[in-house]
Amino acid sequence: MRSVPFLIGAAVFLTAAVTAAFVVRNEYVFFAGFVILQFIVLATAWNILGGYAGYVNFGTSAFVGVGIYTAVAVFKYAGAPLYLQMLAAAAVGAALGLGVGLLTLRLRGIFFSIATVAVTIIAETLITNWKFVGGATGVQLLRPPPTAPFESYIKMLFVVVAVLVVIAVALARYIQLSGVGRGLRAVRDDEVAAECSGVPTLKLKLLACAISGALMSAAGAPAAMYLQFADPVSAFNLNYSVSALAMSLIGGTAHWIGPVLGAILLATTQQFLTVTISSEVNVLVLGVMLVLFVVGAPDGIIGLAKRAWQRWGRR
C-alpha cells in the first residue's frame, strides 16, 4: 500500500528521463546528468552497508574500478553489449562484496574502513599489471553505434543509468522497510546483542556487502563506454569513495531518500562548479560541506527536515 507513491515517483522519474532523451538537444545535459545519476546509485549502494549496517566502506572506488574494468574486459574479449557489461560487472562486484564482507568477521569500525582502502589499492595494482586491459597506460575503446531508438550513445547511457537508479533505490527502500533492514540496524547498534537476539549477523552483513558491491560495480561499468577510455588511476579514483560517503552522510543515512538527496545536491553542485570555476574547487566544496554537516547536522538533510517538521508541528 505504502509502495504506491514510490512506484508513481519511480515511473515519473523514468518517464522524464526517457522524454528528456528524445526532446532535449543539448548533449551536455546528458553528459552531466549521467554523472549525477551515477552518484545517486553509488551513494544509495554505499548506504546499504555504511548507513544501515554501520560498516563504513572506503572502498567504493574499488567497486567502481572493478566495474569499469569488468566492462572493458568483456567488451574487449567478446564485444559484449552494454547491458552484458553491466551484468558482468554486477556479478563481479557482488563477489568482491562477499570478500569484503568476510573482512567484517574480524574487523569493525575504523579497522574495517582501513581494510577497504587496502582492497582498493590491491585491485588497482592488479589492474595496472594486467596487460590485456591496457595496464597503467589505459585502454582506448571504440564504442559501437547506439541501440535504436536512441540516436546518441550518451543519451542511451543516461537512460540506462536512470533505470539503474530506480533499481538501486527500490532495493535500498525494500531492505530498509523489510525485516532485513531491522536486522541490519540491530547489527549497527550492537552486534553482540543482535547475535544473541537471533540475528544471523554474518549472513546479513554478507548480503548487504554483496548487494552494495553489485550496485556499485554496475554503476561503474557504463563509465567505460561513457569515456571511451579507461585507465587505473581514474577508474580507482578515491573521489568515488569520498563522494559516495559524503553524499550519504550529508543526505542522511537512516532513510533511503537521504543518499538520493545528498547525491543530487552534491553532484549537481560539483557539476556546476566544474563548469563555472574549476574541477579542483568542487573537491574543496565537497570537503567543506561534509565538515559543515558533520558538525551542524549529524543526521543530514533528513535530520534537518525532521527537526523542522517537529518544530512546525508544535506551533
Partner: protein, 242 residues
C-alpha cells in the same frame, strides 16, 4: 529422572595464558531456578558467554535440550531457546523499546507465522508483564537504568526462550527496583522458563535460587542449596579473601 535441559561438562576457556574457566561442569533441569555466584573475575560471565555462544569454549562440551551446541553460533543457540541479558545493557539504541523486542521476535522465533500486528501484540504483552508498556514507543537510548534492565529481560523473553540467563540484571539498582526485577524473574519461571541468575546481591540470589553454584578463579568451589553454599567456608574465603 529426565535428562537435564542444560548440561555443561568439562568446559575450559583460556585467553592467551590466562585460564578463565577450568573444567566446569554443571547440570540444570527444566524449570529450575539456578544461581551463579562468585567474586569479580571468577568467570561467571565467561561461562555464560560460552553457553550462549558469544565465546567458544576451548574444551569440554555443552548440551542443551539433548543436543550438542559445539559449533553453533550465538544466533543459532538463541533460536534453540537460550536467551540472555547483558551485565552492561546492550540496547539497540536507534530503535524504540517495542522494536528492540521485535528484532528478537522476528529473528529468534523462526517461522513464528505472526502478522506484523500479532507480533506487535505479543511484544506489547511481554512489555506489559514486565511493566514497560508505557515506554513501548520511547527510544531505548532514553531509558533509565532500571528500565534498560527490564527491557533486556523483555527482549530476551521475546525470543521465546526455554532458558533465560540473567547476567547481573540487578546491578546498580535500589531496593524496590531489585524486588521488581526479582518478581519479574519469578513470574517468568512460573511460566516454565528455566532461569540462571548471575548476581552479586546475595539476598536476591538466596531468595530466588533453588540451587547455587559458586565460582572462584575459573573453578567450581561449591554447589548446593543456597544456605549451604552461603555457609561454606571456601565460599566465604573467596569473597572475603581470608
Amino acid at each position: 529422572m529426565s535428562d537435564p535441559l542444560l548440561s555443561v561438562s568439562g568446559v575450559s576457556k583460556r585467553f592467551g595464558g590466562f585460564t578463565a574457566l577450568q573444567d566446569i561442569s554443571l547440570e540444570i533441569r527444566a524449570g529450575e531456578r539456578f544461581g551463579l555466584i562468585g567474586p569479580n573475575g571468577s568467570g561467571k560471565t565467561t561461562l555464560i558467554n560460552c553457553i550462549s555462544g558469544v565465546l567458544r569454549n576451548d574444551g569440554g562440551s555443552i548440551r542443551f535440550a539433548g543436543r550438542e551446541l559445539g559449533g553453533l553460533s550465538a544466533h543459532q543457540r538463541t533460536r534453540r531457546g537460550i536467551a540472555r541479558s547483558f551485565q552492561v545493557p546492550r540496547p539497540f539504541r536507534s530503535m524504540t523499546v517495542l522494536e528492540n523486542l521485535l528484532v528478537a521476535l522476528d529473528y529468534a522465533v523462526i517461522g513464528h507465522g505472526l502478522s506484523a500486528r500479532e507480533a506487535d501484540a505479543e511484544a506489547m504483552a511481554i512489555l506489559g508483564k514486565i511493566g514497560l508498556a508505557e515506554k513501548a514507543e520511547a527510544l531505548s537510548a532514553q531509558l533509565s537504568q532500571v528500565e534498560l534492565r527490564k527491557m533486556e529481560l523483555a527482549r530476551a523473553m521475546a525470543a521465546r526462550p526455554k532458558l533465560l540467563i540473567s547476567d547481573e540484571a540487578m546491578a546498580g539498582l535500589a531496593g524496590a527496583e531489585i524486588d521488581e526485577v526479582l518478581d519479574t524473574l519469578f513470574k517468568l519461571n512460573a511460566e516454565g522458563i528455566t532461569v540462571i541468575m548471575i548476581e552479586h546481591i546475595m539476598q536476591a540470589v538466596m531468595r530466588f535460587s533453588q540451587r547455587v553454584m559458586c565460582l572462584d578463579a575459573g573453578r567450581v568451589i561449591c554447589e548446593g542449596a543456597p544456605q549451604a553454599v552461603m555457609d561454606d567456608k571456601r565460599v566465604q574465603e573467596a569473597y572475603l579473601g581470608a
